[in-house]
């Protein structure tokens, strides 16, 4: 979105003032409301669709496959598609690199929860489709992946766990399903304007942000990856090192609220 010079300077002054005034009056830690649909794709093990109040929309589908984990050690695969962008465009590659790091790090998805037997594991395929996005979609994607994984139900194993000696493939119950119990990390996008920092910047806020932060949160703690993110190329500038700490504290403080809100629907 292109804004006029006067608009930008008005927004900048509002956001940089103490206390900051966000264009929609939100508090620094307040998110825009979202709507979630889960398990609507009949052919996947879990799915979710999030619509943000600005019209950004993201669909995630979770599929699974039984693999021999001694051969295949990559048990999570994330694939991101953005409508209107080529697969090798910067935004798609950057997001998929980020989400791979988030989910595959040792604090990401606990792969022991995917293990079926001593030999076999589920491999999960996470397909993300961003239908429309008006601000940097990292949070949207991670929220969708979170709620899709929380809604994922996998077939129940009926054969024995110890199958090293016996040559048998895992057997599953005909209709019983088990909820996948994983705690994927959440990704937060923060914007820095002047000496203020706030969560979930809307598109007009990103236009005037001096810098941005991507912060990952899991189980009450801030984990890596953490990085700065250029939200625009006009206002980008250096920031006070203390803001980095403040941003991380903000996420640490409110991360659990988000996780609870996404989980207890």
């Amino acid at each position: 979105m292109v804004l006029s010079v006067a608009e930008k300077s008005y927004l900048y002054d509002s956001l940089a003032s103490k206390p900051s005034i966000r264009p929609d009056g939100r508090l620094p830690h307040q998110f825009r409301p979202i709507e979630i649909f889960t398990n609507f794709l009949p052919s996947s093990d879990g799915s979710s669709r999030i619509i943000a109040s600005d019209g950004s929309e993201c669909i995630v589908s979770i599929k699974s496959k039984v693999v021999d984990h001694s051969i295949e050690n990559d048990l999570v695969q994330v694939d991101i598609n953005v409508a209107g962008e080529r697969d090798d465009s910067i935004i798609v590659e950057t997001l998929s690199s980020l989400m791979n790091k988030v989910l595959k790090s040792n604090k990401g998805i606990d792969t022991s929860k995917l293990q079926l037997t001593k030999k076999y594991s589920f491999k999960i395929f996470i397909d993300v489709l961003i239908i429309s996005s008006y601000s940097y979609p990292a949070s949207l994607i991670s929220f969708s992946i979170f709620s899709a994984l929380k809604a994922t139900k996998l077939p129940k194993l009926v054969s024995s766990f110890d199958d090293l000696e016996v040559e048998e493939l895992p057997m599953f119950h005909d209709y019983d399903l088990v909820t996948l119990d994983v705690n994927p990390p959440l990704v937060f996008v923060l914007a820095i304007v002047g000496d203020n920092i706030f969560i979930d910047p809307a598109s007009n806020e990103t236009e005037v942000a001096n810098n941005g932060l991507i912060v990952t949160w899991s189980n009450g703690k801030v984990i890596s990856p953490i990085k700065t993110l250029a939200l625009n190329d006009r206002y980008i500038n250096g920031f006070n090192p203390l803001l980095l700490k403040n941003g991380i504290k903000l996420v640490e403080q409110y991360g659990q609220n988000i996780a609870d809100a996404l989980e207890n629907l």
């Binding site: 006029s4 006067a6 929609d24 009056g25 307040q30 979630i36 809100a261």
Partner: protein, 364 residues
């Protein structure tokens, strides 16, 4: 949820079980078999109807009579005309078209609109007005610095970007329409021109009610420009706005805003003398500088207005000055402006606005 985020769980339209979709298909078949009867009934019913208004949905059969010419919003399959949009059927002579309930803005001459410059071209700006095509603002249709009587020179052509550049917001009037339906704008009045000192927000153009006046002074020292195209500009009330809205000889102030729509605004105060126009037509009208004295209270009030306008749009309530004010008053029950973005809050504000209108007895 402690005010951090509000998450609503919804059930989608495509969340059918396999059985229910089958049932649906059956129903569809039934309809298609008896299409002709239904269509006949509809047409006859429609003829009885005084208003002649028939609302159709996409894919609905409008008529099976091949004599009708097919206009916008319809498609033709096997000698039958179906609607391709949700809207009202319009019949002009033999031309059958469906006017969509919600669509991109279609400009009409005289509309007061807010637009954003998309492109600087040869002697013209292309302006995004949320329509199907960009509108055109000719260099000859703007006031240039130096007054109304100034000749346009080649140097003006070369420095068009110093008047209006990409991204700039302006309000203008639709001067005329081209053959293809795109608009030609003009800003040759002091009430039009570059917009400053405020914030932009956008609603569907179908929600803006065309009225005599689209610039309103609101309580809280805020002025709103409700562009007919759904682009809305909220700004700090300027001296100009106060003069414009003041009844002749009467007192100024926000309280007069209620009367101003009824009274003959515009005519009296919008005709400043030539000298005044020359004064105003300095370079300042194209300045990008905001008023440095916008207080944080004004900024908060602007946020509140932007949120209540979004709430009205969320409830699909037509946006007028009275309703914006009434929604603003209703929103005062929520001291935290940020809580106005929650769905329940927006709904309750919408209800309040409609209730107030019912009590006043002017609800339709």
């Amino acid at each position: 949820m402690s005010g951090v985020i509000s998450v609503v769980k919804r059930h989608g339209d495509f969340q059918y079980s396999v059985d229910s979709t089958n049932i649906q298909n059956d129903e569809d078949e039934d309809i298609s078999m008896s299409d002709v009867d239904i269509a006949d009934r509809k047409l006859s019913k429609d003829n009885d109807n005084e208003s002649g208004l028939q609302i159709v949905t996409p894919g609905e059969l409008v008529t099976d009579d091949p004599i009708w010419m097919r206009g916008h919003g319809t498609y033709f399959l096997d000698n039958m005309t179906y609607s391709s949009v949700a809207g009202a059927v319009s019949r002009v002579n033999r031309l059958l078209s469906v006017i969509p309930l919600k669509s991109r803005y279609s400009p009409e001459t005289g509309d007061h609109i807010v637009g954003r410059v998309a492109e600087v071209g040869n002697k013209r700006w292309r302006v995004d007005i949320g329509g199907k095509q960009h509108a055109i603002l000719m260099l000859g249709s703007v006031n240039l610095p130096g007054g109304i009587l100034r000749r346009k020179s080649e140097s003006d052509e070369l420095q068009m970007r110093s008047f209006l550049k990409e991204g700039d917001l302006l309000n203008a009037e639709v001067q005329s329409l081209f053959q293809d339906g795109s608009a030609s704008l003009h800003t040759r009045s002091l009430k039009y021109g570059k917009l400053r000192n405020g914030m932009f927000c956008q609603v569907p153009s179908s929600l803006i009610v065309r009225s005599k006046n689209h610039t309103h002074n609101l309580p809280g020292n805020i002025t709103v420009v409700l562009g007919v195209n759904g682009f809305i500009w909220l700004r700090k009330t300027s001296q100009m706005d106060l003069v414009r809205d003041a009844p002749p000889g009467g007192s100024t102030g926000a309280t007069s805003s209620q009367r101003s729509t009824a009274g003959p605004t515009g005519a009296v105060s919008l005709n400043p003398s030539i000298t005044r126009l020359e004064e105003e037509s300095s370079w300042q009208i194209y300045s990008d500088e905001n008023d440095p004295t916008i207080s944080s209270n004004i900024r908060k009030t602007i946020c509140r207005y932007a949120n209540v306008i979004k709430a009205l749009a969320f409830c699909e309530i037509g946006i007028t000055q009275e309703r914006v004010i009434s929604a603003y008053e209703a929103s005062m029950a929520y001291p935290n402006v940020g809580s106005l973005i929650e769905r329940e809050t927006m709904e309750s504000i919408g209800h309040d606005v409609l209730n107030v209108e019912k009590m006043r007895g002017n609800a339709n």
